[in-house]
Amino acid sequence: MDVRSQISMVFHLDKCIGCHTCSIACKNIWTDRKGAEYMWWNNVETKPGTGYPGKWEDQDIYKGGWQKNGDGIELKGAGKPRSLTNIFHNPHMPVIDDYYEPFTYKYLDLIESPAGDDQPTARPISMITGEPMDIKMGPNWDDDLSGSPDYARNDPNLKNLSPAEQQAMFEMERLAFFYLPRICNHCLNPACIAACPSGAIYKRGEDGIVLINQDVCRGWRMCVTACPYKKTYYNWSTGKSEKCILCYPRIESGQAPACMHSCVGRIRYLGVMLYDADQIERVAAADEPDIVARQMDMILDPFDPDVIAAAKANGVADSTIDSAQKSPTYKFVKEWDLALPLHPEFRTLPMLFYVPPLLPVMASVTNVDNSEQAEKLNDISKYWPDNWLYDTSTRELFGTIDDARFPLEYMASLFSAGDTESVADRLKKLMAVRLHRRHVTVGDVDEDTVAAALSNTDLNGQLADDIYYLTSLAKFDDRFVIPPAHREQAIEMMEFTGDAKGSTGFGFKVGTAVRGA
């Protein structure tokens, strides 16, 4: 057992309001620079939708991630020797138009234009060439299902749905969507690291953050191909690749990453998980239906004395083990089995987990006779032309999950490599918690229904309350349990602190000899 600690994340999708505050916080701190304008280390997508860059999930196009090769795995579009033979021209490299051409407006024209008959306008100009341009795309062009025929309809996750199911999803009355905020997953088996010919990308042993050494990156751009989540970006100006750094300078000083700190919906949780690094290779090569379960098995119980002993032997600090025991992500992912990784079939073992969204899934649309209602409308009101009922009643708990507005296959394609069972399990739990709280606070759900729902999902009142607390009431320090970075020990490896003894503290700019008479 090779116990290591990993900073992991949980995003609770039911709570995301799609405000993009997270993206802006990140952009302001890290990517508001030349060559990085188009990068959104944090981006928020509407699902169904094609996302950013367009159709990133479709690995037939982008060739990202790992694929099975006999008993082992290999990189799909990069790796030895492909990275070396394709180095002069990488056939699987996305270009800027797959993201969007960054633009700004000539605002100064509004003020500086000479007087004339026409109102001056601020024309859009490209941030690459500086020339006027027609804006064709933005990072969230598919927001809230806008342009659905072009975007939502082309969502790669619809592949597994029958044409009838797809049709049903896009009927106006049944239309639903949710938001999917994405950052780098700081994977356990990162394809980006494996593909880098220069060896510039590495995972930090102490906390598992994946970084690109800017001094070593040579712009071979294989990581851009290899990351199936398209979370490494090529800076076209510096000729170096960049990616989400999980705000490590903030984490090292005990602060939450900027996207998480600023999150309006408070959907984000961050904490330590201990895992067994010996299993990485085997789990990454597991058969598709098992891969989620196997990844969950890798994550170790931080209260188990054996795990603690092994962690200590492996240099994990006591404070980190303590953080692991208090970790909100451990609770969501392991203890309560509520969260799932995004596209586990890419085999990078992502350490960002999502609590699947319940609301649009649970609301169902049924056919009813609305004619009686329609007659009650007066002449001015519009006639209600159809016979749909949008039903959010919580009674038909397990019935509605199967004929939900989002087919379970769709969710499973996102979060469980097609295994509808594991998605359904989590949704049922979320529903049970909701029923329980409804019973406690409003009281219009009868006790038997609640008890049945809870026992069906292996929950009890106490657990449901805990889940409810961490979901809805959790304070800052509950949501972010950040282990101390112990830089005071790390520095001993790089510098001999004895050398600096006597040199810190209050000093003088001028020596006494010059000063004194």
Binding site: L84, H89, G205, V216, R218, W236, G315, A490, E492, M493
Partner: protein, 244 residues
């Protein structure tokens, strides 16, 4: 005339080589951030194929051809003493020379016509590309006009280069060569000279170590085997001073 010759074939090569070695080392060790292929595939990915691939493949073959003839002049002469071999070698070298020419022209056309690529073009890029183009044209010219270069390079130029290396320049042979060849030699040293100041530095960091390194890389800020081991001292080794 003689002073000029001496400058270009004795002084200049030394200046170029020293600048190259010191410059590349300094840039690689101290200014790692500036070393990049500066790939522009992200801005334009289709047309690049027809420029980049022929250019790079051609230049690798031709470059290592020159290096071989320089390193092993005797073996080269012996091997090419069979006329058929010599012809095959010459034709191959010429074909790859043409490949470079085609690739480089395509790359330059792309650079001048695509506004996005123009936006990432620096003056050093232009100097470098023009210099390379001139060098290739001269090379092709020599290949056509002064046949059997493989053997006379090994017989005449290689000894001159070796004499430079031994720090006792023997310039007789080189002074007597036609000016096209002289220009080609000066061009070669000029390219060497500007390597540290241009994107060309990326050929010094060809990622061959990738073949032998494991796929995953983990970097520890502390030594996890000893950090919690009570029998180890607080700090296991006195760290080496870093360069930066």
């Amino acid at each position: 005339m003689n002073a000029l010759n001496t400058f270009f074939f004795v002084a200049f090569p030394y200046v170029a080589v020293v600048t190259f070695v010191v410059g590349v080392l300094y840039r690689w060790r101290q200014k790692g951030f500036t070393v990049s292929s500066l790939s522009s595939q992200f801005l334009e990915g289709k047309y690049l194929f027809w420029g980049s691939v022929p250019f790079h493949v051609g230049i690798l073959v031709v470059f290592f051809g020159h290096v071989t003839a320089f390193m092993f002049p005797r073996a080269t002469l012996a091997w090419t003493s069979v006329p058929v071999r010599l012809v095959v070698l010459e034709v191959t070298a010429f074909v790859f020379g043409v490949t470079i020419f085609i690739g480089l022209t395509a790359l330059m056309l792309r650079r001048f016509t695509n506004p996005r690529i123009r936006a990432v073009t620096s003056r050093a890029d232009l100097v470098l590309e023009l210099l390379l183009l001139a060098q290739v044209v001269l090379g092709l010219w020599i290949a056509l006009g002064y046949r059997w270069g493989v053997s006379w390079f090994a017989a005449g130029l290689s000894p001159y280069l070796w004499s430079l290396l031994r720090l006792s320049p023997e310039t007789g042979a080189i002074f007597a060569l036609p000016w096209v060849i002289k220009l080609h030699v000066v061009g070669a040293f000029s390219i060497l000279l500007i390597v540290p100041f241009t994107r060309l530095a990326h050929f010094m960091v060809s990622p061959l170590q990738y073949i032998i390194r494991p796929y995953q890389q983990v970097v520890w800020n502390w030594d996890r085997r000893t950090i919690r081991d009570p029998s180890s001292p607080w700090s296991t080794a006195r760290p080496k001073p870093t360069d930066e």
